[in-house]
């Protein structure tokens, strides 16, 4: 955290900077976040949204007033009321409860896909930058292939090959991971390139460290800032992709509560008659992605302002 957190402080604030550098461990961590909250209102707002979402997912069964998958034909297409805060869908399921439980799906898919994708991208980027030459060329070409490959084909193929169903969330995660890998690998590679030629790497090698040790003990920690930033940024994107795939019928399947899935079918079919079915999940998706993007943006400004992750 040392090198990362130092960048959060502006150069001019010399006293705070020195006090910060003198502090250690957990106090340094606290200082970093205190500074973050004070200087970055938008990022803090994002963090609040994320915490809110985590809270909702953790206590979904306490928050949701109804069972999200229970079908009640007596309550079809009810408009929002005190009984059903966000109305009901054509199966009489409570939309609010489905939104609450949908946060679990969104977070599970978003976090796993982003973590796996960014980590694989990190490994490929560092390996390419460290070895250079043919290994690097090979990895780069492979990343080019993944970049120019339409996501939809990968998604359909993964879903078709591995099957679909309630317990097949892993397939959706796998499909979403693919487009993340090359984007992360590119950024990590260019950051790692500036590290691999530094004298201390040479020194480590002289002492007799092996390639794997050098790459993951000495190079990887130095590209941790872009990694962390992209992890947050792609979390939002992964949630969005899950929604799109589920909307197309290639993602999560009924009756699992998923925001994208709620927009599919009933959301479109009853758009005029029961607009609440389509509006609520869209707002949920937008708020979640909005939170991660705001937070990710401010994290980038704090850790590595020159980094560009569009």
């Amino acid at each position: 955290m040392t090198g990362l957190a130092r960048a959060a402080l502006p150069e001019s604030d010399e006293v705070a900077r020195r006090r910060y550098l003198e502090s250690t461990g957990s106090r340094r961590f606290v200082r970093f976040w205190r500074d973050f909250i004070r200087r970055r209102p938008l990022g803090t707002a994002g963090a609040v949204l994320i915490v809110l979402m985590l809270f909702t997912a953790a206590f979904a069964d306490r928050i949701a007033p109804y069972d999200p998958v229970e079908i009640r034909f007596a309550d079809l297409l009810q408009p929002p009321s005190f009984e059903h805060l966000l109305g009901t869908d054509p199966f009489g399921r409570d939309v609010f409860s489905r939104i609450v439980f949908g946060s679990r799906t969104a977070l599970a898919v978003g976090f796993s896909a982003s973590f796996v994708g960014c980590t694989l991208g990190l490994v490929l980027g560092v390996v390419g930058a460290y070895f250079g030459g043919r290994v690097d060329q090979l990895i780069q070409r492979f990343m080019d292939v993944l970049l120019s490959f339409p996501l939809i084909v990968i998604a359909i193929a993964v879903v078709a090959a591995l099957g679909t169903g309630e317990d097949k969330i892993a397939n959706v995660i796998a499909a979403i991971t693919v487009p993340i890998i090359p984007r992360v690998a590119r950024v990590v590679r260019s950051s790692a390139l500036s590290v691999v030629n530094m004298p201390y790497i040479e020194a480590t090698r002289a002492v007799g460290s092996g390639a794997v040790r050098i790459m993951f003990r000495h190079v990887a920690p130095n590209v941790f800032a872009p990694y962390l930033i992209m992890l947050t940024a792609f979390l939002g994107q992964a949630i969005l992709l899950e929604a799109s795939l589920s909307f197309l019928g290639l993602g999560v399947f009924e009756p699992t509560p998923s925001w994208g899935l709620m927009l599919r079918g009933a959301g479109m079919q009853f758009l005029e008659q029961a607009p609440w079915i389509a509006i609520a999940p869209g707002v949920a998706i937008s708020l979640a992605v909005f939170g991660f993007n705001l937070f990710g943006d401010s994290l980038r400004d704090a850790l590595d302002p020159r980094l560009r992750t569009a």
Partner: protein
Amino acid sequence: MRRYVAGRLLLMVPTLIGVAILTFVIMRAVPGDIVALKYAGSPVPQSVIDEERHQLGLDKPMWQQFTDWMGEIARFDLGTSLWTGHSVVEEIEIRFPLSLELAIIATLLAIAIAIPLGVLAAVRQDTWTDYAIRIFSIGGLAMPSFWIGLLMVLTTITLFGWAPPFVFTPLTVDPFANLAQMILPALSVGYRYSAVSMRMTRSSVLEVLREDYVRTARAKGVRESLVVARHALRNALLPVITVISLEFAFLIGGLVVTEQVFNLNGVGKLLVDAVAHRDYTLIQALVLLLASVFVLINFVVDMVYVFLDPRIRYS
């Protein structure tokens, strides 16, 4: 320079071959071919199925199917669709103008929104104007474009009692009807894509505004508006152009979901249908086409750089 161009062009070949191999392998790894799907559930004797497979050349060994395909590509022959029996070129020709038009309108809208707002946010950095613009742009990244599309349809229905027609009118037949149909999908996609370019414009302009020559221009007494327009924006546009063109490449093949919402019969829908039917020839041709467009635009962007910024010299 000439060597660099040649080198870059040559580098496209392995990328596209990689795409071709990956498409081929992925599609064959997916269970069920077109014949199996066609006769699924109906009691057809195995001999008929085998005969049909033989006619389509699906009984040949994998490596031979692949080399056959590569041979056809080398002769610029994309083959015929296994599903419809029409030539692949014909199938794509029908859908491509729609996707291209949508991509162009969306990109133009995105530029029209992104550049002025991006510059404004940069000039007013850390004020409420900046915050508002950034929230607007992050909102564009956060809202699924198909959901924005749904909301737009909902709004026009409730306010004007008008919904986009289901039948597509080509631009050449009736330009007004065509534009009326395209404007909503283009807006819903354009807003999202403007967000990316807006953020790039902002950070790029911010960077340039810190340069010495901007300070010099201000010191000379050049009007601030001129400093921004002439000195800053011009030099800041390079990365913005990259982002915009790469998005454009994605737009052509990436509008699957939006096409679904607005019931447009474009390339994205064609691809989804082709995969659903396991129409190997059509999928392979489409993926290769989309990948080529992507790689080619990447290449053109790099070349445009040299003309826009004489400092860049590739060697």
